[in-house]
Chain length 155, copies 3
């Protein structure tokens, strides 16, 4: 099944490639690898939420942050697809690196990144099985709670 | 000398591949590169220590954190070995990225990561000479003081 | 025009390769990629400034931090040039990852990293158009306000 069909089954569609937040491009191809920029969970050019992820009042709940991580991954896929001519050319998701803007003491970064990982697994099956690093950081661009970058292989 | 023999000389053995902390795999091969997941210093499935690295009371001492960084590297090697069929196939450690959960004001991340770098040098000699980034972060998964990921080349 | 000539036009020259802050090397070549170590804004072996980046008193101003990010990129280019035999062999800047030691609440990491990105664009034109991740972290080695690593492709 084409990746676009699987996206539709999940009620999703590939967004327009997000505008970079600085003097760079959304994705670069080298050999048969694509490196995407770190992607924020933009929806139609705006962040749906800002702040630190944690369990406390006024913080972004981890389950909400997992949804945002999936949005980051979707934006990263849009960037990659634009660079290589479509998601059906993806042969392997190689590496996911996810940064979570974390309130003091929050250590549930893996659960947050599972939002991205599960989307990639749903879309690509075995070819979506990736290595991953999840890190809790002090702050992310524009106050985003999550940022995700991908390395992927294409055919 | 085989890498396993050098490990034995150091009183070490390759651990079982640590179970990923989320919906991902321990390492992915693309071309002649291996990207490992960010590895925590698990020993038999448990973190020997949690907390922030620093010089203060109740913090993880930098020398202890260096030992933990070596454990992370060993786990990353186990993940890579499983993906490529053994450590003797490693032709170059390319890149080490190390994240240190850092107490406010702690800037000794390079000393912590030297625990990982020295192990790689001892095991692989010239082929273990890698580029490295060391970063101090707010928090790491499950409260781990250190996380290390590798990119390596194999033959 | 040779990259060295563009550097001269900008009033810059390629520095000596900075001494690594630990048991690693400044850059490693694999295939036609170069991975540099995370580079600090060393000038003649010393950090021109330390501290957290932010808008407050006693913090490193974001515009100053952008200059430091450019220095990091220049040092990373020196490391890469040494590994591949000169900057004219660079065929593409693939990925820039930038870490900004960030005061609480500072979310202007993209502006800081633009210091590095604009230098790369000025020097390499289309071949300098890179993917980028910008992250705000708790602390960096030796108190550096910024750290930048590069992945680049060469011919």
């Amino acid at each position: 099944m084409a990746v676009a069909d699987r996206l539709a089954e999940l009620g999703l569609e590939l967004p327009a490639v997000p505008q970079p937040a600085g003097a760079y491009v959304p994705a670069v191809v080298t050999g048969n690898l694509v490196f995407t920029a770190g992607q924020l969970p933009f929806v139609d050019g705006a962040l749906p939420e800002t702040g630190l992820v944690g369990e406390g009042d006024g913080q972004v709940a981890p389950t909400r942050a997992a949804d945002l991580a999936a949005l980051c991954a979707l934006n990263a896929l849009a960037a990659a697809a634009d660079a290589i001519g479509g998601l059906d050319r993806v042969s392997q998701i190689v590496k996911v690196t996810g940064f979570v803007a974390s309130a003091p003491g929050f250590t549930g970064q893996p659960g947050v990144l599972n939002g991205a990982s599960q989307l990639l697994g749903d879309l690509f099956g075995d070819e979506g099985r990736h290595a991953r690093s999840a890190v809790g950081v002090a702050a992310l661009p524009l106050g985003s709670p999550v940022e995700v970058e991908l390395v992927l292989e294409y055919r």
